[in-house]
Amino acid sequence: MSVFGVFYLALIIALLVADFRFANWSDMSSLLSDPRVRFSIWLSLISCTIAAILSLWVAIPTGFLLARLGSESMTQRLGQQSPSSRRLFNWVRYSIDTLLDIPIVLPPLVVGISLLVLFQTPAGRWLDERTGELFASLGYAGIRGITYEIPAVILAQFTVAAAFAIRTMRNTFEQIDDRPERVALTLGASHYQAFSMVALPQAWRGIVAAFTLAWARSLGEFGPILIFAGTARMKTEVLSTTVYLNFQFGNLRGAVSASLILVTLAIVVLILTRLLTLGGNSKNGVIV
């Protein structure tokens, strides 16, 4: 590890130590006894889990497709096409790849504003209303739509987390040799069977890593939630907004205590991931 690496490690440890020294148990217990904070913890846990599941649902097929579009066999197939067709294919592939990275590079507030603007369009309003009707028919009349409601929290988390999950799944599938899938085709398998029976089981460690990354990313999400879901207590408040609200009202100890809950949850998830993926092959930093 380089000197700068040691410095960075020391910085992370110092940050955690400073947080834990600043807050005390009485601050923490008083925070946890607040029903509004307990609500935000539960909403965080539930919304992050739903956002991570949705992210995986999108990331697995998308990551697989992106990985295989860049595979050697695809290059071989393209070798039979005209140069202009190859150029067009590569342009489309890189464009899709770049578009999928936009949520990663956009400032979080911009993601929130963009979501808000999207749901002001006729299509967005229509979806907002239909979602409200759906929840009402399911007996959740309190959720009147998407914007400034719990679905907005999940959508804001999902929008950013999915991009990270896709990147992880793409890297995972790129590390998996596609030749066994091709052999599966000759054995009578459909493309879906080759994917689900041969490629997918090999990617389980990458799936765990993508889920964890999406979950942790959702847990720390703040900007898009602030703009798109608001900070209504007992309604759309998640842990990151609890930190913000406490800080906003001058309760620094409360803000740090809420931060420590976030830190603890993140550490627990990271340890669980490490344990689950223990013994896996790690190539180029990607758990496969």
């Binding site: 066999s73 197939r77 066994p180 599966a184 000759t186 054995l187 009578g188 089981p201």
Partner: protein, 223 residues
Amino acid sequence: MISVQQLRLRQGDFELSSISFEIPQNAYAILMGATGSGKTTLLESICGLRAVSGGKIWIDGEEITRTPPAQRQIGYVPQDSSLFPTMKVHRQIAFGMEVRGFSQAERSQRVEELASSLDITEILDRYPRGLSGGERQRVALARALSFRPSLLCLDEPLSALDDDTRSNLTKLLKKIQQFESVTVLHITHNVEEGNQLGTVHFRLEKGRVRAVVCEDSGDKNTA
């Protein structure tokens, strides 16, 4: 009968043109050629893993040039065996039957039969990781034969094996081909291996396939 007529295939600057040959029913065909001459490319085209630019491929009178690989009835054993890492050997062998909708009883019976013929009964409950090169190739062979294909394509299946294993597998290949009554197209660099196994011999040179007659002393070109 396997018939390839005027097959053309382009891969960047590399090109196979006017590939034509025929393999009689139940023959053991050997395809030889220099490294980079396009043997694997040709084999993968026959298996449906590469699109061809022109020409036609027939198996038992049925044209399969544009048929998806899953419907070609061709068993394929690649050079590296390409076993499925997360499947135990018995499921691996049954895979082709599973995706084709064979019953559990049929699958079990066929797996046992092939495992016995290829002497891999002991490893049926193991994962590919940790299997020897010879065991891996036997499993790949059993997997390719499981659904009783019309043609078995072998891409240098013995090239990475030691002499003893290679010698044992050569005898086994001959035995299993006769027992299963399957037509085989086998790529190899090894003349001795080709002479031991082949009943029909081809050589791929300069983008074309030529039939050759094999004699103990070597190859004699006839085409």
